[in-house]
């Protein structure tokens, strides 16, 4: 069983579209995250959720919105996609956090988003 799984693995879409990336963790963790990795391999946190409460919201465009239907899921919705949104998006989870990843975090395999 994959600990943190995200779908789809690849996503190619046109500018202006709305898309979602799903993430599920079966580790029973309290905190889930979304990270963006750009073409230069820089990793930046976008959001984290702890028990369905947003505890970090970095300065990302409001076109991006995390949705957590339950503790095991944190989906990423993106509206009006732009070329600059092309990147790899990683979901992760950990057992604790005040937004900090003080515990070991487990990452999904990533979703490569290409906006054309």
């Amino acid at each position: 069983d994959t600990a943190v799984s995200q779908t789809p693995k690849y996503l190619v879409t046109q500018m202006g579209n709305d898309k979602s990336i799903k993430c599920e963790q079966n580790l029973g963790h309290d905190t889930m995250y979304w990270y963006k990795q750009d073409s230069k391999k820089f990793l930046k946190i976008m959001f984290s959720y702890n028990n369905k409460e947003l505890i970090i919201n970095e300065t990302v465009p409001n076109r991006f919105s995390p949705k957590s239907p339950d503790k095991a899921h944190l989906n990423l919705h993106i509206n009006s996609l732009e070329l600059g949104d092309s990147a790899v998006y990683f979901c992760a989870s950990s057992q604790e956090g005040r937004g900090g990843m003080s515990a070991e975090a487990f990452f999904g395999q990533g979703t490569r988003l290409t906006v054309v």
């Binding site: 391999k41 820089f42 990793l43 946190i45 937004g99 900090g100 990843m101 003080s102 070991e104």
Partner: protein
């Protein structure tokens, strides 16, 4: 301005010890320092975590000086399979609390 910096790349040979240093000048008082390894087309994978002094596990050691403004990941006797990108991760106090990954160090292990 909070910055978390690492060398861009390092080269090594099988069997050598490799030390990768991360500078984190605004680390938050109560936060841990964590290191991750990333292979191509995979998510980062946890290696080691520490708060101060020295931590050792089965794959690496982490050295943290008293001021905690830097940390050094030490990989003993690297093998070809250790070729990867290594990231440090810290929480920093700037105008607000932020989690910041280092820029990553690409380690190439040669035979």
């Amino acid at each position: 301005l909070a910055k978390t910096t690492q060398p861009i790349s390092m080269d090594s040979y099988e069997g050598q010890e490799v030390n990768i240093t991360c500078s984190h000048n605004n680390i938050a008082t109560n936060d841990y320092i964590t290191w991750y390894q990333q292979f191509p087309s995979q998510g980062p994978r946890f290696i080691i975590q520490g708060y101060k002094t020295k931590v050792t596990n089965e794959v690496a050691s982490l050295f943290i000086p008293a001021d905690r403004k830097s940390s050094t990941l030490s990989l003993p006797r690297v093998s070809l399979s250790d070729t990867a990108v290594y990231y440090c991760l810290v929480g920093v106090e700037d105008s607000s609390y932020k989690l910041i990954f280092g820029s990553g160090t690409r380690l190439l292990v040669r035979p």
